[in-house]
């Protein structure tokens, strides 16, 4: 697994360089597909061994991560977009933010209940 993580990190580094410098030699689609491919590998590797006890927190935690679209919605209220797009952006921000905060807090609450015998509480 550390091999996959290493690969992904390298790829992400290599991939982000041309984008940031806008050299334009490699189209974003190709870079994006590389990143996608490696992230899926990392995802499969990381999640495969999670015990059933943690399935619910894993799901609600990853659900909160899917609220990352908040980043996308923030761009939509920028000056790159016409004002009418900003309306979609604001609704998206509201929804994504509920998803993010709600998801992380609920996961934290659930995990707070797990404890070993003779542990605290």
């Amino acid at each position: 697994m550390s091999l996959f993580l290493g690969l992904a990190a390298q790829a992400a580094e290599a991939a982000s360089a041309p984008v940031a410098q806008e050299s334009g030699s490699i189209p974003f689609l190709i870079v994006g597909l590389w990143v996608l491919l490696l992230s899926i590998f990392v995802g499969f590797e990381v999640i495969q061994k999670v015990p059933p006890t943690l399935h619910t927190p894993l799901m609600s935690g990853s659900n909160a991560i899917s609220g990352i679209t908040i980043v996308g919605s923030l761009y939509c209220v920028g000056n790159d977009y016409p004002l009418s797009a900003g309306i979609f952006g604001v609704i998206a921000i509201l929804c994504a933010m509920i998803n993010v905060v709600g998801g992380f807090v609920v996961t934290d609450r659930m995990l707070g209940m797990f404890h070993a015998k003779g542990g605290k509480k």
């Binding site: 995802g43 990381v46 943690l54 609600s60 991560i65 009418s84 992380f104 609920v106 070993a116």
Partner: protein, 484 residues
Amino acid sequence: MISMTNVVELAYMASSLLFVLGILKLGKVKTAKQGNLWAAYGMALAIGATMLLLITRGDWSPREGEWTYQSHALALGAMALGSVIGWWMAVKVPMTSMPEFVAFFNGLGGSASMFVGLAEVPRAVERGQTLSSEGADFAVAVILAVLIGAVTLTGSLVAYAKLAGKLNKNRIGPLGSQGFNVVLGLVCIGAGAWGGFFAADPMGLWLSNGLLTLGSLLLGLGLTLPIGGADMPVAIALLNSYSGIAGMTTGFILKNNLLIVSGSLVGASGIILTQIMCKAMNRSLANVLVGGMGEAAGGGGSKDEGYTKVKSTSAEELAAVLDAASSVIFVPGYGLAVAQAQHKVRELAGLLEKKGCQVRYAIHPVAGRMPGHMNILLAEADVPYEQLYELDRINDDFKNTDVVVVLGANDVCNPAATNDPKSPIAGMPVLTVWDARTVVVVKRSLASGYAGIRNELFQMDNSLMFLADAKKALEDTITELKAL
């Protein structure tokens, strides 16, 4: 050269790393809480970096008309409001309603992706060009973000309603039939192709993308409605995966690697969970999506299915049986969640442990309404997680156990799965509770479970039926046990 764009790109890289490490840590009980926190830090970093970029490059400064000031104030307001609502809901929700709230949050995530996709429409209108003028891949990404985001939204809302018990229909008009889903799918493809590649005038762009949105929203309803209540663990896991995939497609719209990385992480995790759930039910994903077998048989029904030699028992007898036992295994099911009896189980277990009895819990992978549902409920009642056993680890131990108490579970301990090759659940891994010396089944009635089939366990020689609500039954048993 260090530009702001590069700094932000590095911050995005760091938050991707935090997400991966966070999920990695979420996979172990000891580090799970920390893992969730790391993922949350990653999210905060990503949001902070994005705002920094937008502010420094003048994206959030007023343009003509001073309108933007207001839209940015609105954006910040939406963030604050969303945080408050999300936090409030997360703190308020009782642990038993966790499945439906995860579904609800998931739907909101999907809708955010849908709106990010739709925000490209007014932009294309302003340019007066097709969406594909920014590249065919861009147009496809927009269409997919709207399509998958909308399906996630309405699909999750159906899952929410079904889990909360507010909806038990498999059809609403034509919605829910496979034929109509195909029609909707074709409408979406048609509208998507028109809106992405051909429409360049404002009217055409709005109309086509509006049609795509509407079609996708209906498709989400149509795809989730036929899925039976017992198959909800699969449905939620799959919808979770969709919300990740929708987020990933917005990464291709905005040319943002962070969105691609986190979206596909979530997508992959959802798919793996879906696979695990299907395996636990010995069914294919296609079979689950088309609609459960039990639904076809009328969703169980309340008939007594002609059981002839059922032995009934009472709280008094159960207390006596438990008192004499030196090892007890509890098998919780959805009935336990409905009756909110998890604290009572814990109390009873505590009494038994004080008498020197070994207490364990056997958890079937699909017990309850979402993956790992029972573990959460029992954790809420302070049951140490070392006492929770998965199917593989406990099945061999039933034969050395004095008493098994089945609490509101049915299909997950049906012997037909192992000894009747013609049964609809044949081959499904089940808990072999009948190997124990005595099995007490606490259940409200003799009605069949979601699979809609009879359970021979109920009339085996060593099993006793305690027909009552799980919470009431446990309360009475505790009283009797204390009186002994």
